[in-house]
Amino acid sequence: MPGTLVLATTENAGLTRNTLEVLAGGIKLKALLGEPVGAAILGRELSAHVPLLFAYGADQVYRAEHPLLERYQGDAYASVMHQICQRAQPSMVLLAGDSIGRELGPRLAHGLKAGFVADFVDFDLDAVSGQLQFTRQTYGGKAMAVVQPKAFPVVATAKLRTMEPPTKEEGQTGEEIRVEVTLEASKLKTRVLEKVQEEIAGVKLEDAKIVVSGGRGLRGPEGFKILEQLAQVLKGAVGASRAATDSGWVPPSWQVGQTGKSVSPDLYLAFGISGATQHVAGISGAKNIVAINTDPEAPIYKVAQLGVVGDWKAVATKLIESCKELTGR
């Protein structure tokens, strides 16, 4: 029976938030078309995740276990996902718009001769034709595009943090399907030698309710120490613009923007960030943006709700003090 197939991924022995977001997408399509939601999960030892996937709304779980699937490897995942799609015959394959989905999605679409839609923010049925259609940002967020798939299944990646995770219903069950995996290490064209994981001090950037970000205006890595203090007081995370990560002031994983992370905090504080298109594309989900910059003409003020024109360092330093007083931290 056709339906949605989502790719589930895990971290720290649990499902990722990204997985819950794509499950929400599957549940939404089910509400529109009445088709079931399948989840594919790939890894080494996955039994603990299956009931969780049912609890979050999966009707079927395709469970593929193999030592070569322990972590994401492009060729191995592409091959097994292709195999699962052939068996499940989904009408839509939904992946998170993260470093896995963005790489895997087009590869899978090619193999399935499917349409591909990248980083959608929403989908619905066209009011006139009843056709499935996706809305996505384009031109760095300056425009929205409506894309209709012409070849099914359609493979789509969901822009992160645009869908709310579904509610968890304990005890909900479904059908578990074990997938026979045959993979040979020698057939894989690429091999992960090592993963270097960065230590994160506080809350994860993509999950933070408050993000304190710095850009070119900080003029060096030292400024980020001040932003880290402010983030600590506000229980938030620190982000950066591409100018700051490309200068090597902070690691690339701190980058917010088109090539960095999409964030949707309640509060985004942008210090010394001019608001280049590529940065603004990553903060379109932020509920409140505060811009602190010396240049009153900076484009960041066009997207901000609150603005301060002035020296970022003096503002940030005093803001730490004021926030401490107000929050009692």
Partner: protein, 268 residues
Amino acid sequence: MPLNIIVCIKQIIDPEIPASQFKIDPGTKRQVQGSHSLVISAYDQNAIEVAVQLKEKHGGKVTAISVGPATAVTALKSALSMGGDEAILVNDPLFGSQDQQGIAHVLAKTIQKVGGFDLILTGCVSGDWGDRAVPAFMSEELGVGFVSFVSRIESKDGQVVLRRVVEDGYELIEAKVPVLASIISDETNTPRYPKLKDIMAAGKKMIPVWKAGDLGLDPDRLGAGAARVAITDVYIPTKESKCEMIEGDTPEEQAVKLAARLRELKLI
């Protein structure tokens, strides 16, 4: 080992124009160029830089290719001035209605015609449409290994090690050549400014133009009918954003007011 590197670049309308000057043509559903300048999509410049650095270290050749309008010759000349050896423009009115998978087919056929490649590099995302999909489609068309979001490449004895940037750090990935990588920026691949003499030399170089008929394309993959997705609308969202400015005689005074306002809005 010398490396034969192909870099795919795209010429786009300067993405950093003010939002107020950004227009969409309701007929073609594409951005109106107007008087705005054309540039090489940002990450494609990082890809050129990575290619030229590898050539400087290991020897070999860098060929830049672009599928696009006749104006894309200027983008290719920039690539040559940055250290590219050869450039090819692929230009045919037939390509105007290709979707991303169709464009990837054209690029793959072009690369096969160039031949003898070890590495194929692209930017990781284009500054206009920006769906990050063409490099992956190309790797499938060509049947070569693929690694996305790569900031650095080391080469040794027919193997390359690619640093792939992921959300919480990076992976080191080993691949045999040929391999295709989409390039993301970091402090090691900031595009160089070409020297005047290199700009002059690039200006004199001939750039061949290849047409659809030169590439041995699959006729089933050409045109709007072959497209697997259709863009039915592109529009500029209306934004009601008004920025409330926090005034004050000193930055400290502004900071105190800002904190109070954020508290009032229950944001802190």
